[in-house]
Amino acid sequence: MFRRIYVVVVKEITQIVRDPIALLLMFILPAFLLFIFGFAINLDIRTIPLAVLDHDKTENSRVLVDRFITSGYFKLKQRLSSEDQINWLLDRGEVKAIIKIPANFQREVFKGKSTPVQIIIDGTDNNTATVVMGYARMIMQQHSKDVLFELLRTSRGAILAGIPTLDVRPNIWYNPELRSINFMVPGLIGIIMMVVGVVNMSVSIVREKERGTIEAIMVSPLRPFELMLGKIIPYILIAFIDLNLIILLGKFVFHVPFRGSFLLFLFLSFLFLASALSMGLFISSIAKTCQVAWLISFLATILPSIILSGFIFPISNMPKIIQFISYFLPVRYFIVILRGIILKGVGLSVLYPQALVLVGFAAVLLASCSLRFKKRLA
């Protein structure tokens, strides 16, 4: 039996090595995805292009504008001289935010009157706008408080024994520099396991179906179970090579730390891989042509895994129905595990609920898959 499985494994590997496309998919695609998500796509919103329309031109208004520029989040693109320019700049998308300081700003503030400073934000990209809004409000409140302190100190210093202040000391864990690449790399491992397990697995079987070679294998003394194992094993190997490739590239090219236990990481990845491969097998039993296999695996597994799994977009913001759907994606749990091990360095004592869910998924998917396979082949 082991010899027969071994023969299938060798055949499969020979086939993969001879097929440049398969190699491309298995080794170039992961590196490519790492490059896109690690290098090109940056979620950290910095250097927001900003324009200023300062009708006041006093010290106070200059300090406020300086605060925006020195915060590191905004980049001054243009100083405006009239209102007419606002429309044009925002319509063209040349700036994302405009500060409009009214005339008499300083005088009114020093009189103690609450004075509005208008900040116009381009809401086209709602996500960027949310972040810009947060920064702008933070800077304004800081300014407001500081001006107030200054006024109190100079005008009524005698009344106050001291000015009570509340300092927020942020203590950022796991990713102190808040780099988005650290957030992306663990998630990316989940996505790539998905691609290898689902796409490559299903296409490899469907290709045999398409070419009619699967019948040739079936009339050989090989049992269905042995065929399945023989087909799966090479993909497990490839997935593990990819896994290490990403961890290494992440560590040495993008300086992503690995804090937890590597052994646990391998073990849980294996569990996840079992689910992914079963999904791939399942798709292969539905699809008749490679194209359809591609399409199903892309629309039904890859796309939801990227968008709905918490890989980029936080699940807690999604509508309840979509959150509910996300519970059925094994990759959702796997990404929590990956971030736990890689960034937080926590172990099984923390991650056991997710690990148990993965065991459940693997068991159910493998079982239903082998049932379906037996029926199809019989």
């Binding site: 491309l24 490519f32 896109i36 796509i41 940056n42 979620l43 910095r46 292009p49 319509d91 020093f110 009189k111 103690g112 609450s114 004075t115 509005p116 400073v117 208008q118 116009i120 809401g123 086209t124 709602n126 996500n127 972040v131 809004m133 702008a136 409000r137 304004m140 407001s144 408080k145 001006v147 107030l148 109190l152 009524r156 009344i159 000015i163 009570p164 202040t165 509340l166 927020v168 203590n171 796991y174 808040l178 988005s180 957030f183 296409v203 290709r207 194209q291 591609w294 629309l299 796309l303 968008i307 980029i312 977009f313 936080p314 807690s316 913001n317 999604m318 509508p319 926590v346 923390v350």
Partner: protein, 388 residues
């Protein structure tokens, strides 16, 4: 050029498409799926951040401070820890994303007019959410701080008519320097407003490049391309006949998404419909050209699928359809100038969200047109060489 011969090829192509059942999901369910997934799920806005608190002070003032967090909708105080270790454990297990640690003597020190430090533990793994969360913490704390000062000044001081007197009357309303935020184009900051135009771009790209490349490669693979070539139909006519059904399908898809956006998502186009179709037409030059190009470099349909996958992934990730281009490294930003999808996305968003016209968009439309012509002629000449 004979119209009859072109028509014959178009008919043949349409019949083939009708027989190919698996193409329907690609044509009609993929747009809807993408609209739903991106329109509802792709959202960075952070609300209901799971929060834990450790209130070592447990006084009126510390509770007031925490109430400010509980009532603004951004933080859900889920856990009350009793020790620093417990708070850390909650963060480790991922049950909370932010932990607020209020020290002993919080109230006493603030009343004395001293400065107090509140430690905020943040799970930085998700850098984006952490940044947004920290901003909110800071905003709430600044507000609390300002109110404290108000309270710490004895009431007698407010009788006066100078600075403090005026300010006292104003403070209930707002801060001294008030942030009057105005959000243009998408005031509710809804992600469907942002993604519906994006999906139009993506679908047009995916459908037309896929159909063109696969249909050309299929003929090559089966060997029917040679058969057609030996008929009296000229190469130009074949191409025109093959491409026009895809152009029609592309436009039908655009109209389909426009309708779906209006009916399901309540998203309406503000600008001119004519400009949308005009630029879609220009964009089709690029996508059909890319389809032709892929068909010349791939031998089998499977190869073509993989090239298409890389192309689509690249274009959608880098061209500002999902992720803003401004955040990308400079090198990548330069590359995006070569990609037609960049211009098309700007145009479609401009038309949908901003309602701007040709006066604002003329250069983008011009670049899109230029990209289309260049890509189309290059691919065409490459194909001619291959066939000849």
């Amino acid at each position: 050029m004979s119209l009859r011969r072109i028509l014959a090829i178009i008919l043949k192509e349409l019949t083939q498409l009708k027989r190919d059942k698996k193409m329907y999901p690609l044509l009609f369910s993929a747009p809807i799926l993408q609209l739903i997934v991106l329109g509802y799920a792709a959202n960075f806005d952070i609300k209901h951040i799971p929060t834990g608190v450790l209130d070592m002070d447990n006084t009126t003032m510390s509770r007031q401070y925490l109430d400010a967090f509980a009532f603004n909708g951004y933080f859900d105080i889920l856990y009350r820890a009793h020790s620093r270790q417990e708070l850390c454990h909650l963060l480790d297990t991922g049950k909370i994303k932010i932990g607020i640690d209020i020290p002993v003597d919080f109230q006493k020190n603030l009343k004395k007019g001293a400065s107090v430090q509140v430690h905020v533990l943040v799970d930085g793994a998700d850098s984006n959410s952490a940044t947004i969360g920290l901003n909110y913490v800071s905003i709430i704390s600044q507000r609390f701080s300002s109110n404290l000062i108000l309270r710490s000044i004895d009431t007698a001081a407010f009788q006066s008519n100078d600075f403090l007197g005026t300010w006292r009357r104003e403070i209930g309303k707002s801060m001294l320097v008030d942030d009057a935020l105005r959000i243009w184009y998408n005031p509710e900051l809804s992600s469907k407003q942002f993604f519906v135009p994006g999906v139009i771009c993506m679908i047009l790209l995916i459908v037309t490049t896929n159909l063109t490349a696969l249909s050309l490669v299929r003929e090559k693979e089966i060997g029917t391309l040679e058969q057609i070539l030996v008929t009296p139909v000229r190469p130009g006519e074949i191409l025109l006949g093959k491409l026009s059904p895809f152009i029609i399908i592309g436009f039908i898809d655009v109209m389909f998404i426009l309708l779906a956006a209006m009916i399901i998502f309540d998203v309406f186009i503000k600008g001119s419909l004519f400009l949308l179709f005009l630029s879609a037409g220009f964009f089709l030059f690029s996508t059909l050209g890319l389809g032709i190009f892929i068909s010349t470099v791939s031998r089998t349909q499977e190869q073509a699928m993989i090239f298409l996958f890389f192309l689509v992934l690249n274009m959608t990730m880098l061209c500002g359809v999902i992720f803003p281009i401004e955040n990308m490294p400079k090198v990548i930003q330069w590359i995006t100038y070569l990609l037609p999808l960049r211009y098309f996305a700007i145009i479609v968003r401009g038309l949908f969200l901003k309602g701007v016209g040709i006066a604002v968009l003329w250069d983008q439309i011009f670049y899109l047109f230029l990209c289309g012509i260049v890509i189309f002629t290059l691919s065409l000449s490459r194909m001619k060489k291959k066939i000849a």
